[in-house]
């Protein structure tokens, strides 16, 4: 099959009248038909709605032509609410939930001319790093179908990597956009906390969650971020800071950009091929005029435990709402005691999968009397130290570079029985969420075995423009995105 087009290419073809949105949607729906049986990127494909909406856009081309996503097909992680379209969070407990409203990020995409082709698979309630925790079965990595795509936004990463859509939204609580982007060879951007409204995102950990784009190129990510960013009266945590035209920041100019490298943190536990790819990528940026600076992030080693204490505490509270009363699944009565508390406990026992139960349990424990100070409060204090590490680093550098994931994609099933080993894969991604900072993963090569590797750049709050500029400059020299998985 020919190389799939980028978001900007598709949009420009619609603008010039060379392609119709209906044609593009039809082509990509055919690609989904051909490939998704093997990959399982989608939980729901909205074929009829998509073709109807594309036809509307084609008929009224003069109205839509100048919109930034005119007629462009997109996909949404299945934890983003879509009015009238099933939204499951890949959980049995929401298997038949049809939201009566759209997430703000979704309505902004549609207002910009996007056509939604469907909802993508993820770890249940975004809890996981492999998409193996979906109640509907795992998603497979298109570069090696016996391997994980990463997670939790694994379906979104695969939909983009396999050319089914040029843009998919994901959510990132501890790396859930960036890590699958890295493992699938696409671009993933977690914006600054507050940059994108969380209204309509099924909450996992409210102080960490953020919605962002997965795309094949950095330029496409810049277009998508400009569309979804900005204040929203429906989310009191959305920031009022003005939204720049991120595409305008893609100048290719990186001379003098100071890139911090936490050499000591990268000393151990990183796969040799990943280390080499990151070093080569940094050399490429140096050749363009960037300057490398050694930085210390003294508390980075504590980021994973702090993250799992804070995130699970928030999750145990957020997921208390799934009780079989107002929406979602309710367990059938199994005889007396046929009372409310038994109904709650059975509904949640049957509706949630193992990882969600594990995290609810851990979060309940760390918030419980006697353990709150030792675990939750302590973790929040160390969170402050992690934030300060970055503040100190940003006094000297403009961004910090790391691998996105310490290893390339592992095999499906390899770590599913050992949650702690799975959590350790998040070592380089969780800090950005704890500190609320923007971070991007951009493809930076392949292993000898053909598995994608990603470089992560973490920047100052609300300075997504700097990350996009440096990542896009790198991509000009090293357009790894032009390589496509077979099939």
């Amino acid at each position: 099959m020919s190389q799939p087009a980028t978001l900007c290419e598709l949009r420009d073809a619609v603008r010039r009248g060379e392609r119709t949105s209906v044609e593009m949607c039809g082509e990509l729906l055919a690609r989904i038909d051909a490939r998704d049986g093997a990959l399982h990127a989608f939980t729901t494909v909205t074929r009829e709605q998509a073709l109807n909406r594309a036809a509307l856009i084609d008929r009224d081309r003069s109205r839509w032509r100048d919109q930034p996503l005119a007629g462009v097909p997109v996909a949404l992680k299945d934890n983003l609410c879509t009015r009238g379209v099933r939204t499951t969070a890949s959980s049995r407990i929401l298997e038949s939930f049809v939201p009566p409203f759209d997430a703000t990020a979704v309505s902004r995409l549609e207002a910009a001319g996007a056509v939604i082709l469907g909802k993508t698979n993820c770890d249940e309630f975004a809890m996981g790093s492999s998409t193996e925790n979906s109640a509907f079965g795992p998603t497979r990595n298109p570069w090696a179908t016996d391997r994980i795509p990463g997670g939790s936004s694994g379906g979104s990463a695969v939909a983009v990597a396999a050319g089914m859509v040029p843009l998919a939204l994901g959510s990132d609580t501890g790396g859930s956009i960036r890590q699958p982007a890295a493992l699938c060879g696409v671009v993933g951007l977690k914006p600054t906390y507050g940059r994108v409204s969380r209204y309509g995102l099924l909450a996992f950990a409210s102080s960490l969650d953020q919605i962002g784009p997965l795309t094949r190129t950095v330029g496409d990510a810049a277009v998508a971020l400009s569309v979804i960013a900005g204040p929203d009266p429906a989310d009191a945590t959305s920031a009022a800071d003005p939204v720049p035209d991120y595409s305008a920041s893609l100048t290719g100019e990186v001379r003098g950009a100071r890139i911090g490298v936490p050499a000591r943190l990268l000393d151990s536990g990183v796969d040799a091929e990943v280390s080499r790819a990151l070093r080569d990528a940094l050399d490429t940026l140096v050749a363009r005029g960037a300057v490398l600076v050694d930085v210390e992030l003294p508390h980075a080693h504590a980021a994973v435990p702090v993250y799992y204490l804070v995130a699970t505490a928030e999750a145990s509270s957020n997921l208390a709402r799934y009780d079989g009363v107002r929406h979602g699944f309710r367990a059938a009565s199994a005889g007396p005691p046929d009372d409310m508390r038994t109904m709650y406990a059975r509904t949640r026992a049957q509706g949630f999968g193992a990882e969600v139960k594990r995290r609810i349990m851990l979060g309940t424990y760390v918030l419980s009397a006697g353990y709150y100070d030792a675990y939750y409060l302590k973790a929040q204090q160390v969170r402050t130290l992690i934030r300060r590490d970055y503040e100190e680093a940003f006094a000297r550098v403009d961004m910090v570079a790391m691998p996105t994931s310490p290893t390339p994609a592992i095999r499906i099933g390899e770590r599913i029985a050992d949650p702690l080993q799975m959590y350790l894969m998040d070592i380089f991604t969780v800090s950005a969420n704890l500190a609320g900072l923007p971070a991007i993963s951009v493809p930076c090569g392949f292993t000898a075995g053909g598995l994608p590797i990603g470089m992560q750049l973490t920047g100052r709050a609300f300075d997504e423009a700097a990350l996009l500029r440096v990542a896009e400059a790198y991509e000009r020299d090293m357009p790894w995105w032009r390589q496509q998985p077979l099939g």
Binding site: S96, V98, P100, F101, Y193, S207, A236, T237, A239, A240, H299, A302, P305, V306, Y308, L309, D323, G324, V325, H327, G328, F329, S333, D338, D339, M340, R341, T342, M343, A345, R346, R348, A349, F352, A354, K357, R358, I360, M361, L362, Y365, S368, A374, Y375, L377, K378, A379, Q380, Q381, V382, R383, T384, L385, R387, P419, L420, Y423, L434, A435, A461
Partner: protein, 99 residues
């Protein structure tokens, strides 16, 4: 902090979390939560004297707004996803709460 996580620890937390766990889950979670908490104990070694906790990374901003009546979800839509709404579409029905 307990050295290990016991089955009765797990049962007590499950009750707080409104989760009915089976025998296999009690054993599995006792082991896994024990491992995770043992690993998380390293956080306790870090000196945090005088360090304020971070609950949110938000910079202070004005979230107040005028208290005005605005359109909200209608009753039919609010009940649309209820597993057991009453036939007149007015109420969420639940099992007996008070004996």
């Amino acid at each position: 902090m307990p050295a290990r996580f016991t089955r009765s620890d797990v049962e007590a937390i499950a009750a707080l979390a409104n989760l009915e766990l089976d025998e296999r889950e009690l054993d599995l979670f006792a082991r896994q939560l024990g491992d995770i908490l043992e690993y998380a104990n390293q956080v306790g070694q870090i000196d945090t004297t005088g360090v304020p906790p971070t609950a949110s990374v938000l910079t202070p901003h004005q979230a107040d707004r005028a208290d005005e009546v605005r359109p909200s979800l209608g009753r039919a839509e609010a009940l649309m996803n209820a597993p057991d709404a009453d036939p007149d579409g007015r109420l969420f029905r639940v099992p007996r709460v008070i004996g």
